[in-house]
Every structure is written in C-alpha cells, then in structure tokens.
Symmetry: C2
Subunit: 444 residues, 2 copies
C-alpha cells in the first residue's frame, strides 16, 4: 500500500492528540482565518441534523474530516457515534452532589493576555478559545459553569491528551501501593518491549517523559512516526495490503531510541501508552476497568466515561478518554484534596503527594516549550511551578484540568479550538486562570 | 465488487437480527453439536483477555466472526467496543429502586417442554437456552434475578429484534398523541419512499408488519436482500467499488413490493426501520433522543442504553438496541402498568391499550410460524393470545420481554443461543414462562 493510503487511513482517527511546540508552526496556522466560535457553533452549523443529514451536513470518519475544524466541534462530543469505544462504568449508585455557589462577577474579571496590550474579560476569553464547557470549583463548590456548542451537562467530550494525566495518576497510585517500582526497567514489566527504545528506560523516565525516542509527531511530514502509530491504533478494518503494526501494543515495540534516556523532557504520546500497558500487565485489568474501580465508581460520577480503543480492544491511554465536565471537576477536586472525597481517602494520599513533588525543571527547559517557562512535568501532569504551585492536565484544542492548591480552585475547560497546539490558546487561558485564582483567594 | 466481498463486508455487523421460520432450517442447524452453555461461557473461554489478547482469543468485526457462536456470547455484551454506537441517555438523576422479594422456589418449578416427554426445571431451562440474564418481576418486585457468562448487573446486552417493540411503542405513543395517524400512507410522512414498496402502505400496516415486501432474510441465499441491507447499514468504511445504498434510509427506498399489503403478516425487519424513519421525520428527533426523553430518563434507569448506528448516525430501529437487564424490566413494568410508573402516568395509557388490543390472527396464521399457533402481532409486539393475554417483545438468540397481565408478571431474558431463530428455544421458554406465571398467580 502507498504512503498516501496509509495517511488517509490514519487520518480517520487522527485527532492531533499530541503536540510538539517546535515542530508545529502555529504562527503559520494562525494566519489562516478560521470561523469564529459563534460562527462555528456545531448546532448552528447543523452538523448531522436531519433524517438523513444532507451531504454537506454529514460527518463520517471514512473521509478523514471528522476531526478537522469546524467538524471537530461536533465530533468531540460524539466520538461514540464515530468509533468503537470502551466504557468506564460509573457503577449504579446515585450521583454525588456538587454544591453550587455561583459567582456572577467572574465573567467580568479581567486579565492581560500574554503578548497583548489590552485587558480581556474572562467571558471574552471563553469565546476566544472556542470553549465547549467551563467549570470552576472553589473550595469544592461550583462558582462558575457554562456550556457551549454541542456540549450539554448530560454529554461527554473527548479530552485528548488530558487522558495522560489519568494514566499517570493510576500509575502513581500503583507506585504508592508498591505494585509498581519507579526504578525498575520497562522491559522487566513488559518483556515484549525488549527490542524497543523502552527496553532500558525506567518506569520513572516513562512517567516523566524523559525517554529518548525516535518518534515525530510532525503532521506535515509524511514520514513522521505518528502516521504509523495512528494507523496501528485505528480500530476500523485495515486497508488491503496494510503491512504495519496491528494495534497500539504492537506499534510500541517498533519504536527506536534516539539519544539517552533521562536527560531531557520529550513530550511523546507513546510514553502514556507504554505506561498504560505496564499498568494493565501488573494489574491484569484494562485501563477502563481500573479507572472505573479506583475512581469512576467511587466519586458518584454522573456519567460513565469511555475510551477510544484499537481493534484489539486496547484503550488509547495517550489520548482516548471522553468524560463529562462535572465529572472531570470531581476528579480534579479529588486530586486537590490529595485523594480524599467527602472526607474519605479514596486513593492514597502519597499518590498525589508524589505528583505535587514536581519534576525536573532543567530537563523540561530543554524541551522547547518557550511559553511555559520554568514549568516541569511529573507523573504525566504539567507543573506550572508558579507561586500557587498550580498544576494541570492538558490536551490539544484546549482541554484542561487546572488545579490551584493555594486558591483551593479547580478549573475544567473543554474546547474545540481550530488549532491543536495549546500554544495557540495558552496566552488567553493561563493568565486568565491566574486572575480567577487571585480573585477567589482574596474573596471574603 | 464481487458478491463475496459484499457478503464478507455485511457479515461484519450481521447479527441475524431477523428471522424467518420458513426460510431457516432449524432442524438442520440443531443437528450440529454446539458447545454447551457452561462450556461456551465467554469468561471461561477467555475471549479478549490478556494484554494484548492472544490471536485465538481475539474478537474483531473485521473477520466477520464477532457475531458467530461461540464468540457472540462475548460480543452481545460488548457491542460498543466493536462498533460505533449512539447513546440513549439515562439522564443524571438517581436510579429508581426495584424492590426485592426473591423466591427461591422458582428454580424448582417444572414444566413440560413442547414435544418432549420429561419435565424440566426452570433452572435447567436457563442452561438449555444459553441464558445470559434472567429477571422476573411479580407485582413490581424482583422475585428472581440471575446473570451468566459475560453479563453482569452493570453491563448492557444487545437485544436484537426486541428493539422493534421499542420502536412500535414509540409509534403507539405518537399515535395516542395524534402526531401520527395510523391510516395515513407511509409516503405522506416520508416522500423519499414514494418509489418503494412502502409508498402505498399505511402506517398501521407497517406497525403490524402486514406489508408485502420482496425482502428475503435467508442467510443461506447469496442473493437475499438481507446482505444488501446489512452492507448499507454497516457503519464501517465501505469497501472499494461498493455500489450499494449508503445507510439504512437509502436502502429502504430500494425495496420492491411483492403481493398486496394488509393481507398477511410478514416478519421483515425493514418495517421497523421505516417506522423509525417516520418517527424521526415527524418529531425531528432521532430514536435515541426520543427514547431517552420519553422513557429512559423518566424511569430512573440505572444505565444509559445505546444503539448500533449506520455511517450517517441512523440508529438501527429494527435491531440495534443494547440495554441492561433491570432497565428492560423497568420498561416491561411500565408497559404492564399501562404507562404508569410509581403512580405517575409517564406515557399515554392509550398507547399501551392500543398494543393490547391484539392484532389480526388470520393475517398472522398465514405467516408460517407453526409453533406460535393462534398468536398475533400488533405495534411490533407479539401477542400470545393465551388465556392470560400475555404479550412479548422478542429478539433472536432468545432476547425476551414477556408480560403476563393476569399474573402481574414481567420476565426479561437476555441470551446468546447458538441458533438465531427463536424456534430453537421457544419449546424450553414459552411453557416455562407459563408455568412460572401460574405459580405466581396462585401464590398466597
């Protein structure tokens, strides 16, 4: 089969779930004029409406456009309808209550976007960033909640790479429980990886993404490894004469080393999939089952979640989670409270303390994230290292769980920005989060 | 493309959701020796276990085996992982309570299977019929509940043609609400069907399947229309050079007339899909949305349900529903109580009265269901016309909701029998249901 056929097949499921700030030329992309958030509202655009929808309103995976802007604004809320998925069960009990104490002033909070000269209001930032859902918890109460576009309180949204922080948290739990040892080599857990780059990487290096991998996520390059990875993970039947790997696990075994492990942070999705494999191997449970048992069924989640899977049923631990806005907030609040929920220790305190230790700032600085100065990366969480010790789970197109322990605040944002890389929205998000944190901290 | 390629593609999703007792030679199939229910237990067989599963434990849709015995025993509980699906939301409220009053004697109840000479116990019938889940409600209380194989209380199961009774009930509701008129022609609702067999059929004829259609569901015949229908509805990308219909709605327009409408009952799946189309056209809502609004979110269902969909997102109204055992029982109890739930009228009483009117026994007798003597068919429910006025929703491989108004009993069975046609299990089911009904009726 030709490279073009492979890329076409890979594109069916290719959500640009990972991003590389050096490889991705965001300024070139910004020069393109995109429809505004209001004009690209997927309900107003009429995607998939009508019985049947007319051809110009149709979204399917087959033609590779489902995850392109503006169609993506509908697709992120309807992944189950586009692809096979595996459930993370909420269990059968009643949902827990998140109390409300809405604060109407928040919309009026202003902040200075990075590199700009005029203040912007919080409310304006939501439109600027193509927000689908925004929720702010302060001291465990909902002070702000809004839905846009195709998202409602009873729908769930693809969270892309934010998924990695769930994988990292599960691993951190297993380390606390001594089921995993961060100093062990990957190949001690998964012998199938002995011929790959991961053979001599430690679990800690995988959890902090300081592995040295030959793995390009440059979507402009037809030879980038990301295409072979996406094709391997595509759950739809393989094209004729497909010769690549069948499934995520098979692909991971083919990754080659490039450099020395442990020296620099290198944000590569495949680390999360290796971590997912290790977790499943030691627990003999899929990520979906384990996440349900450890977290989803314990917090009174309102909705079951689900993962995109490959044709072997492997959940995409690097970017396949879909979940509801309030349920993501419940998880953020669990983390903020160091594993306690309604006074009960649901996951080990040590698992969260180990995340909050923060990572290696020097290793991070070598990674080419110029906007994220002084940050670090630990257990698949991004550590801002600001004076509030805020840390965050991040996914392309704007997916965020932002935890500010000092302000006792959790922000969850779901979004469908035209540009994948968060460098396109950070300037209008990160300073906005800090402004809200400061407001809440000083609130009487 | 060749016919073989078409059939291979159709088989990926071809659950024998419909059945034709004359076409299907069940005695020949019975001669094959199948693994017993115990030996074919999908958990014991290890399907999809391991990270990754070994090749001999793998179930995928691509090779067309997912819905063949014994793999089907795993697949019926995991459709979401195999195919794109659309959610029927339970909403976000707490589940309703189904009170328990378990009756241990039921396992010991005996009955005479049709055509046999020895009594069988209720418990033995469950194994005989490859039962995955069995629940009996008596006066609204759970008197019996069991799970087998891959099904648990927090999983959902494909219900195949039992789906049709949901489609029929939704239509009956809309007739009660005067949004549909049973005397109108199908083409008045859906002009796209003007060139098809359905053009001059009335809504009533569709609801009772007395349309005269050239539509064979004989799986042994490579020219049977069922293959083209399955291929049209397969949500996976179409094979190269595919020239058939794209989606269920497009296929329905190609069906030709064979005979006169209104004369004989002819059990053809496509009637339910035409009915689904009519429902969506008049309400401007998909079946999944309407079912959620009218029923799923109103009864305190424990789990969201979902439907298999085609590539245009059309839910398969003829056989695509997946739902939990207790939630199906809640629906059965709603119907038994003529639309009342916990004292509240959730759906119009008239919608259920219209089902219980029973259908045309003479039309039914012409249909070649020799085992179901004296039965009729109304609003996509099967009426036993026995002295208890029991009626039932039925799907291949043993899916059942059996409502006995006289005994105040609802039975729900989920199963994965090796043989699709219910003629293979009716002899060990229908007399068993009557025996339990008689026991409960006489219980002090």
């Amino acid at each position: 089969m030709t490279k073009a056929v492979l890329i076409q097949y890979a594109k069916m499921v290719s959500i640009a779930f990972a991003f590389n700030f050096t490889a991705m030329n965001t300024s070139a992309q910004t020069a393109v004029r995109y429809l505004s958030a209001k004009d690209s509202d997927p309900i107003k655009m009429g995607w998939m409406q009508g019985f049947p929808p007319s051809k110009d309103k149709l979204i399917t995976v087959a033609d590779g456009t489902a995850f392109q802007f503006p169609q993506i604004r509908w697709s992120v809320v309807n992944v189950q309808q586009l692809l096979p998925t595996a459930e993370v069960s909420r269990g059968l009990s009643a949902p827990s209550t998140l109390p409300y104490q809405l604060d109407k002033f928040i919309d009026k909070i202003t902040f200075m976007p990075w590199g700009e000269k005029e203040l912007m209001t919080w409310e304006a930032s939501l439109w600027k960033n193509y927000t689908d859902g925004m929720l702010i918890l302060h001291k465990g109460k909902i002070v702000y909640e809004r839905y846009f576009g195709a998202l409602t309180e009873s729908k769930i949204h693809l969270v892309m790479s934010l998924t990695k922080s769930f994988t990292g948290t599960l691993a951190s739990i297993l380390v606390s429980e001594a089921l995993l040892d961060e100093n062990k080599l990957v190949s001690e857990y998964v012998p199938e990886l002995k011929q790959s780059a991961f053979a001599d990487a430690t679990l800690r290096q995988v959890m902090d993404m300081t592995t040295a991998l030959q793995f390009s996520e440059d979507y402009a390059d037809a030879n980038a490894e990301i295409w072979a990875f996406s094709a391997a993970g595509n759950p739809l039947p393989k094209p004729a004469n497909y010769k690549g790997a069948e499934g995520y696990y098979a692909y991971l075994q083919t990754i080659k080393k490039q450099g020395q492990h442990g020296e620099a942070f290198g944000y590569k999705t495949v680390n999360a999939d290796v971590l997912g494999w290790i977790i499943s191997r030691v627990t003999n449970k899929s990520i979906t089952t384990l996440l349900s048992e450890k977290i989803w069924s314990k917090l009174g989640m309102e909705q079951s979640a689900y993962y995109q899977v490959d044709a072997l049923g492997t959940p995409f631990a690097g970017g396949g989670l879909n979940a509801g806005l309030r349920d993501l907030a419940r998880f953020g609040e669990l983390v903020r409270n160091k594993g306690k929920w309604n006074g009960q220790q649901i996951i080990p305190q040590q698992a969260i303390i180990d995340i909050e230790k923060a990572g290696n700032k020097e290793a991070f600085a070598k990674s080419g994230h110029p906007q994220l100065k002084g940050w670090s990366y630990r257990n698949m969480w991004w550590m801002t290292e600001n004076n509030h010790h805020a840390f965050t789970a991040r996914g392309v197109y704007g997916q965020t769980i932002y935890i500010d322990p000092t302000a006792q605040m959790v922000i969850v944002r779901l979004a469908s920005h035209p540009i994948a890389a968060n460098s396109a929205n950070d300037a209008y998000s990160l300073p906005a989060y800090e402004a809200v944190a400061n407001y809440l901290l000083n609130k009487k």
